[in-house]
Symmetry: C2
Subunit: 481 residues, 2 copies
């Protein structure tokens, strides 16, 4: 992965910059020593590392505004950071960039049950929202596996999803408004505690823009009523193909479970060892299907799904009977990445495909990885065709890293070929930036880059992400006219 | 309503332009005589009229591309038109503009039940999509009252909603991808038959952009499984305040009906006379609440809603017992605008407010209209706080038109004051363009206008809409830097 050549002038001014940052956010809000900065050198995609110039931890929108205004005036690059759980290097620093971490801005500002919204500071964790409204019987729907740690700011930056987004939609479907600081320090508000947006939907544009338009400091999210109950069922299958076809059949039948999660044999084994969730070790593929509602509704729906599954001859079928069992089943799934991380380094892909192509694509993913002499584990949100092949490799072996990168590129190109796209919920970041031309025509890429230039004329915000490094220099693409 | 001064050079070249249009789309695809053009001089907001230079009716994306390329090269303005049902003048022509109508591009290109999408040409009507998949038990969710006539292209332009969007979301929540022709003739594709979009969400940006970025020629929409059944209940109330508070209480209880429609006394009377739906003529306000699912689920949910409604002492309560009764109840609601049109001219407002403020805002709307000596009827999607005050006036009396415009402006300003916005589903068009500064700061307005300039440097597409007429000339707003 190539990093751009740093701006030596900026690097040379480091001490002066740190002094200014301390002026703005106070000494306790600046991390400038080497050990301290090392904690920020990478995110969830830890194959890539880079020490930032310094880290600023503001406490208010006003401080963020002062920071950005200063950075623009001095031509200093800025990497915004939530909890640093990005899986595509979305928060990877640069040598000539400061990191602005919003983790100290984590207050809930307003809860309104009649209008069903929560207004909060963007540094709050995803799970904290649900925790704040659970007592009243409400919840915030998007649930990334990292929800204990990841911030709402990061969720908005990547338009994060999660297992339960099959029914409730991803971040952009659950956010009503936001407050954002632009690179020149200007503060804008988009949307608000109501359904729609006026004129052009800048709210939708900013959600998923990977910290490249500004720094989001406040968010208004929609909350939903917690269901009466929910229950997961585990269906084991003799092949990934059977499991994949079963998912397509369930969706084609018009049933919309809260979640349909897929694990292949390798994922089953690793997660079972980690969580003792009772996953079927004899299965080649496992579907975790969750339905919610009243006990009768759940039973009715699960029975219907069992009938739909029959032609694909499930090798096992277990429905959770207790809360504890349900929790274990989900804990196993949500800790999957961590569990796999214990046995191997991996690249987590994030492609999306039309559901009808699922079985076929899974077979080709295995072939691609074997072609590079690598193992792969598949564990993903099957219901909406959002694949997460985990390519296993040895990070201490540079050759294997290259092989893993190559296999990943082939897999994502395949997703686009079958009519899908490069990213479902993790974003583009540094990981997929060079694949953007696979998805977008030159005209489409140019439109994207012009919008970037419009928000951030000098391309200071979250540098070297999203777009192929060298297209940036191509005026026919990035220029405004 | 002010129209910009036409470009005399373009108007003078009319014959030459018509000749070129015929070259591109054929003689049968061009409307140039006065009577023919008159059919296009206004849309659903017929208080405003303007004859276009000519009308072109292309049959393919390629023809649209040739038309736009020609128009840009000659500096000819373009107004895209679906079925012309816009309620905010979104399709109002200009003297120096040609109208491009896409009504002849109305084919369904692909239906895929496994991946749950339909790929179609944008000139197809909203209802035709559901009709095409109903036999297989699927439907397309957004349901504007004009769904028999309005096109999907128009739905995308305005991000249209409908009575059933409370549960299923508006257009932007149900569209997966589109093909659009830019002003220079370039053809781009955004999104596709999968859940998410790469990089910046241009799909979300384009949906709701009111024909100002390009002309959408193909669309991929998500289809949903039809519910097992659905049933409306009518609750009458002694005051709009009671009805409004009841809606807030239902939502706060976390119940999400498919629809919660609100009618005040005037609307009840007019619609009942038109549709004989059995609306309670003794009520000051009526709620039509629809639940769907299995018969048991529906009964259970409606019973719960009745209990929630008790404190607001409903004056009547009727649940539909037959299909015919359900149809009548909905026909009355969906024909409301037409029914009112029989007794009076009206301006249909389209503000959105946080639900908790509903009762209070309804009172102030009546005061505002009475202040101008005008009557108002309220009939709207209460569940998501999307108000539709219908200001009644006499179109033959210029003074009354001005009063109605003034009352409308006050009402929409009120919506913004209480934390809402100017438009829920009808768009800005010409009707609300001058109110945009009420909603947006100068910075926010500038961002919006720069995006417009990026897509359409000469502002040729759907002129004189969305933005205050004179801000366009303010370089600090519209310019790119």
């Amino acid at each position: 992965m190539e990093l751009p050549t740093p701006n030596k002038k900026v690097v040379a001014k480091r001490d002066e910059i740190v002094k200014k940052l301390i002026e703005i956010v106070g000494r306790d809000g600046v991390v400038s020593d080497e050990d301290g900065r090392r904690a920020f050198e990478s995110d969830g995609l830890n194959a890539y590392r880079c020490m930032p110039l310094a880290v600023a931890l503001p406490r208010s929108t006003l401080e963020v505004s002062k920071l950005l205004k200063y950075c623009q005036s001095e031509g200093i690059k800025v990497v915004a950071r939530g909890a640093g759980t990005s899986l595509c290097g979305g928060a990877l620093p640069a040598e000539d960039a400061i990191v602005i971490g919003i983790s100290r801005m984590n207050k809930i500002l307003e809860i309104d049950y009649e209008s069903r919204f929560v207004h909060l500071e963007s540094g709050i964790t995803n799970l904290a929202i649900t925790q704040a409204v659970a007592a009243e019987g409400f919840f915030y729907a998007p649930d990334p596996s990292s929800q204990i740690a990841c911030t709402i700011a990061g969720n908005l930056a990547m338009n994060s999803g999660g297992a339960h987004c099959l029914k409730y939609g991803v971040t952009t479907n659950n956010v009503l408004g936001l407050k954002m600081v632009l690179i020149d320090g200007e503060i804008i508000e988009l949307g608000g505690p109501y359904l729609d947006a006026d004129a052009y939907d800048l709210l939708g544009l900013v959600i998923g823009s990977e910290g490249q338009f500004g720094i989001i400091t406040e968010v208004t999210v929609r909350i939903l009523r917690s269901p009466e109950g929910a229950k997961p069922m585990m269906l084991g299958f003799g092949s990934s193909k059977d499991a994949g076809n079963c998912v397509a059949a369930i969706i084609a039948a018009g049933i919309l479970p809260v979640a349909i999660e897929f694990m292949d044999k390798r994922a089953i084994e690793v997660c079972e060892e980690f969580a003792n969730a009772g996953y079927p070790l004899d299965a080649q593929a496992l579907l975790i299907i969750e339905m919610e509602g009243s006990p009768e509704e759940i039973t009715q729906a699960l029975d219907r799904i069992k009938r739909i599954a029959e032609p694909f001859s499930p090798t096992s079928e277990v429905t959770a009977t207790t809360e504890q069992q349900s929790e274990k089943i989900w804990r196993g799934r949500k800790s999957a990445f961590g569990a796999l991380g214990r046995i191997s380094d991996y690249f987590c892909m994030d492609g999306v495909i039309p559901l009808a192509r699922l079985a076929e694509v899974l077979e080709r993913i295995t072939q691609i990885c074997e072609g590079h002499g690598l193992k792969v584990a598949n564990i993903f949100h099957a219901g909406d065709g959002n694949l997460h092949p985990l390519i296993l490799y040895d990070a201490n072996n540079p050759e294997e890293l290259q092989k893993a990168e190559a296999a990943g590129a082939e897999i994502l190109t395949l997703c686009v070929e079958v009519g899908g796209c490069l990213s479902g919920e993790h974003g583009i970041g540094v990981e997929k930036r060079d694949l953007m031309p696979v998805q977008l025509s030159k005209t489409e890429l140019a439109l994207q880059m012009r919008i970037k230039t419009m928000f951030d004329p000098d391309w200071l915000l979250n540098p070297a992400k999203v777009f192929p490094l060298h297209d940036r220099q191509d005026p026919s693409l990035a220029s405004q006219t």
